[in-house]
Every structure is written in C-alpha cells, then in structure tokens.
Amino acid sequence: MLKTFKLGGVHPPENKISREKSIEVLDLPKKAFIPVGQVLGAPSVPLVKRGDMVKVGQLIAKGEAFISANIHSSVSGKVFKIDDIVDSSGFRKKTIIIDVDGDEWEEGIDTSNEIIRDISLSKAEIIERIKASGIVGLGGATFPSHVKLMVPKGKKAEVLIINGVECEPYLTSDHRLMLEKTEELLIGTKILMKGLAVDKAIVGIENNKADAIEKLTKVAKDYAGITILPLKVKYPQGGEKQLIKAAINREVPSGALPIEVGAVVNNVGTTYAVYEAVQKNKPLVERIVTLTGKSLEETANFLVRIGTPISNLLESKNGLPEDTAKVISGGPMMGKTLTTIDAAVVKGTSGVLLIPEKESKRIESSTCIRCGKCVSVCPMGLEPHLLEKLVQIEDWEETQKNNVMDCIECGSCVYTCPSYRPLLDYIRLGKSKVGEIIRSRKK
C-alpha cells in the first residue's frame, strides 16, 4: 500500500500529455522583461539603469528585505528601460526591460554540462551562495530558499524532503527534470542536506511517474541517506504540509512552518537550481516550463530564460490555436489566467496551459445543497461552504476564527462541488481581507 496524506484530496484527470517531450532549449527572446517582484515577499531594488550593459548572470536587482531574493539578468545586452508592465499577476509591476544582444555570460559561471560531484563549500558558504544566486521555491510559491535553510534557534531540522510530486494535472516540467537531470538533482539534494546539517532526505514522487522513480532509485544507490519514496496519486500532494504528512506522517500545526515538525521541503526544480548555483556558480536565470494544452499540435518542455515573453513559447510551436479561450500560467487547478500573453516567464512559472473555448466557461452555479463534499475533500480540514457564507456577509472575525488563512488555494472544493459554487473566489477574498486586518493589527 503506497503512502499518501489522509485528509481530503481529489484525483482530477492527469492529462500529462507532454510527459514524453524531452527538455528543449528555447531561443533567446529579442527583449527580456524581468519583473523586480518575483518572490513571495518584498520586491527587489533595481541596481541598473537605462542604458547599462548587462551580462547573463549579472546581479540587476538586490533583495534587501529578509524575505526577498536577488534577481540576475537572464540575457546579455543593454537595459532598454525600467517601466511598469502588466505581468502574469494581471497588474502592472516594475520591470527591467533588456534589449538582448548576443549571449555573453558573466565570468566565473560554468555553463558546461559536466557533472561536478564533490561538494567543496561549507554549510555557511552554501547558504550564502544560495542567497546570492537568488534561488526561490520553483514549485510556484517562490519562497526564498535561503530563508528555509536558516533554521531558527530552538528548532532542529531532522529531515529534508524533496518535492517531486507534481500533482498538478498537465504539468510535466519536474517530471522531465527528474528524468534528464537525475544525477545533478541528487547532488543538489546532498548540498541541501549539508546546508541543513541533516543526514536523511526523502524524495517524494507520485507513482504515475514510474520511469522517474525507477531511474532515481537506481542512481540514488550511490548517495547515502537519500530515499526515493513512491506515493499514491492524489491531489494536492505537492502541497508542503500534505507531502510532510504523506512522507513522514507528521502534521504541521495551523499557521506554523514545516520546521516546527523538523522538516524542510524543497521542490526538485529548486534542488536543481541549488546544484547549479553551488557547483557551477550559476545564478537562477532559467527554468523549465511546460507548454501544454489539448488543442496544441505539439506540446513541449522548454528550458526558458527568465523574462522571456510567454508569446515566444507559443510562437515556437505554431502560435496560439484558434479555439483558445484562456491561457493559464501554471496548472489547471492552481494556475492563474493571464490577461496578456506578452507577460513574461518568471521564477514561479511552472507551465503555460491553453484551455480551449468549450472547456473554459464556468458552469452556472446553483444553491448549496449541503452535501458536505467540499468539507470532505479539503486537505486542510476547513469548511469551504461556511467560509464562503462568512465572506459573503463580511464577518471577517468569524472568517479568521474558521482558519481561512490555512487555505492553500488548491481548488479541491471547487473541483468537487456539485453545485459549481465559486467557493475559492470568496475564500481568496476572505484571505486577502483577513490578511489585511492581521497586518493592520500588528502595526
């Protein structure tokens, strides 16, 4: 019997149509659009100005707050301007626009494919390098990775969990990474283990990626302390708290971080970025993005420079199919519809999904029939139907008491609701209102 988390969860159709497509390098864009706020936390402060020449890997924006991250140029060329541009969030954000000219890398960056196995840096140096390289959680939440490694006093990390679950339907970028960069991934895991000073790591993978599990298990034999753990397919297993429950059977309390139960979770994409940063001195300037959708003639997994407009990805595969109604950044469950396809790939973009006209429309919602399905599938043990009502009557105090801030926005409740109620829309509104109230109380 395979392990999984106990509370709630759904199993949407997997639709991993791009799983067989190996990673291809996307051509450089003509212009790169690099937003300065790509991280969950404070936006970074630009260090370049109009007309400056930059090289690939050069630091162009510095993360000054505790929870923020450095941003490096992903292309070489001239800074065209710094302007507010509509990004994947649908709002205008400060963006550094670079006119691409050639592909000249900053000195000291190893761009070869040679695998370096020996970890020469010390624990503190590893954390410092990860911070300097601007690595953030590439699973989508974009939490700065170096903050995760700085274990607060009084807490102790016992186990490192590597998240190779990729429970989101359609997306295959992590899957391809595990297959094609297996060894690098395991070295990255070793580096993170050293950075955390733990001797145990678990790589959690859902068993719909049998080839990845097989390959990783075979290679991991040479790496002491790393276990590959196949998991039962269930959404949202890729959620940090769900994965901890599935892998080591511990529950993270409400409002606490995983370190509370001695665990640190990192995505496989992040782990690979850590390998590149520590062993090759390469900052986070590119990531793997899945381009997928049923109406596409050919799907793909691209290695894309950060800042490439999403329209470039589409163009390289015959452009936007005619019946496309929605372009989503991320997967179908948690992704966000883009308001423009000129929005750039950022550190948190795991995939680009096209939804055809006939599947894009919302079904008209009817009244709640009190079936309780949303309660039974909620992986955080919340009552989505109740939260929806509380937000509608604007009872923010009661909304907070019912743990609205615990919601991970996985969308399981909306997926399962037989009345097609827009539960998550209201819960999101509740989260933002309650968050506002909490912040104003702190001040």
Binding site: D84, V86, S89, G90, F91, R92, T339, T340, K361, R362, P422, D425, Y426, R428, L429, S432
Partner: protein, 296 residues
C-alpha cells in the same frame, strides 16, 4: 368548591400585583421622552449614513449629547435636522447637502476591453484578481457592488457604458463609498442648482501609462491647477482633485483639460465645449478639402 378556587386565585393575584407594583417602582427606567420624539421625525431608513447603527441609536446619542452639532442625518437632510432641533429646542445650522459622484469615466468606449472576466459578479472579488477588463487598475470594474449596497435605488449600472449612474434619489448615506473596493465614489456638494464640477478619474499612474488604458484619464498635466483662480485644484500623484468647498464653478478647468477628464454636470447645454476629438477631425476635414481644391 368553586368559591375556594376563586378566592385563593384572587388573593394570589392581589399579592403578585402588589409585589410587581413595588418591583416596577424600584427598577423603573426613566427614558427621556425626547428620544422617541426625535426618532419619530427621523426617516427610519436605518442606513447607518449618520455613523450610528440605526435611527434609534442616532436619536439616543443626540439626546445624550444635548446638542446637535456633529450630528447630521444625510437621508433626511436639513429639513429633518430642523425638526430634530425643534424637538431638542436647539438651533440647527443648515449644511450643504451632498451627493455621490462616480470618479471614473472608463466606459467601454474610452477604455476598450482587453480581457474577459467570467468570474462572480462582485467588484470585491474581481479587484483581488486583476486590473480590470480595460486594463486600468484604478478604474471602475463595473460589477455593481455599489448598486447592491444602495438602499435607496439611487444608483444603477448603465449597460452601454458599463459604469454606475447616480440619480437624484441619492441621500449621500455613503454605503456605496464603503462598498467600492477601488474608492472611486466620493460624496460632494450637490451645488447650486445641482451644478457640479469634478475630476472623473482616480488613476494615479503617470500620464502616458494612464492614457494607454483609458482615453479620458487624468494625466496630471497641471493645466487646470494653473488656470484655477480660487486655488481649488491640487495635483498629487499625477492626479488632479477639485476641492468642492473652494470651487466656484467657473468652468475654466473644464475647457483646458486635454483629456476631458473634468466633468461638468447640470450646466446649460449651449456652453458645453466642443469635443477635442471632433475639433481635430473638423480640422483634418477642412485640410483635406483645401487639398482637394488645390488638386483641382
């Protein structure tokens, strides 16, 4: 037999009545009769526009304070406040009545649709998700939270423009101001003969960006500020604001505004200025004609 029952019940009744009489005396709550009287003259809308939860509480607070200064019922207006003053035996200074104005003119024509929103019909929800169908992150979302908030049937959505319209049923209770997540609606003086001038835009972006999304956005050029003789206009964060206390309704600012962002309401029609665009078009046509002539 029946006699005993009647007597015993009667005695119990009398004793209870005596007890109740003394208890009522002892715990008697003297309520100022003026509270009822004040409540009587209030409009009983219970809208909360005065800042108190309901008309009864408003009346209680007035009687408690023994003064009417600082109290104003926007629904009843000066007439009702004069009545309240009569009850209280106090002098009431008349206030200028207010009305809600919509400070956005991002109609479907002025701010063309760039994306389609198919989520729930609620501005609060949409405000959380994206900038808006026209792309302006300050402008009206057009989903009608203000209409839902209005208790007086004073605001409705114009399907043609996609913007809310306020009619003269508005009591300036402020419910729509609260409901709007983008703070577009403002309470202003109705003005003499309901004449009003205000900047119908709240976009704080720099001019070039603002007009990219909306043709009639305020670009903060400062022309109106310069032309104003009464210091009524201030520009902050690329946005002009007309102080209704200082504005003398001379309409100079309206004529100089290059983007037609300043609105004049209820002014005589004949003086309404020619639309800038039309003027330009007319010129172009004239030029064309003259070109044709020279060709011939």
């Amino acid at each position: 037999m029946i006699l005993y029952s009647i007597i015993s019940l009667g005695v119990i009744g009398v004793i209870s009545a005596i007890i109740l009489f003394f208890v009522a005396k002892k715990f008697n709550v003297v309520e100022d009769p003026r509270i009822d009287e004040v409540e009587e003259v209030l409009p009983a809308a219970n809208c909360g526009g005065c800042g108190y939860p309901g008309c009864r509480n408003f009346a209680e607070e007035i009687v408690k304070a023994e003064s009417v200064s600082g109290f104003y019922c926007p629904v009843g207006g000066n007439d009702v406040m004069a009545e309240v003053g009569k009850v209280m035996g106090l002098e009431v200074t008349a206030q200028k009545p207010l009305i809600a104005v919509i400070r956005c003119n991002g109609t479907k024509k002025n701010s063309p649709q760039k994306s389609i929103y198919d989520g729930i019909e609620s501005c609060a929800v949409a405000h959380n998700l994206f900038a808006g169908e026209g792309g302006c992150s300050y402008g009206c979302l057009g989903l009608g939270d203000c209409v839902d908030a209005c208790d007086f049937d004073a605001i409705h959505m114009d399907p043609e423009t996609g913007l809310p319209v306020v009619n003269d049923k508005c009591t300036a209770c402020g419910a729509c101001v609260e409901a709007c997540p983008r703070d577009i609606i403002e309470l202003r003086h109705i003005g003499p003969k309901a004449k009003r001038i205000f900047v119908s835009c709240v976009n704080k972006e720099k001019g070039a960006k603002a007009v990219k999304n909306c043709k009639v956005a305020c670009i903060g050029c400062g022309k109106c500020e310069k032309v104003c003789d009464f210091d009524a206009i201030t520009i902050e964060n690329n946005l002009a604001y007309i102080d209704y206390e200082k504005c003398k309704l001379c309409r100079k600012c309206v004529t100089v505004c290059p983007t037609n962002a300043i609105w004049e309401i209820n002014f005589p029609l004949k003086k309404v200025k020619v639309d800038k665009v039309k003027r330009v078009e007319a010129k172009v046509e004239k030029e064309k004609k003259s070109e044709n002539k020279t060709d011939n």
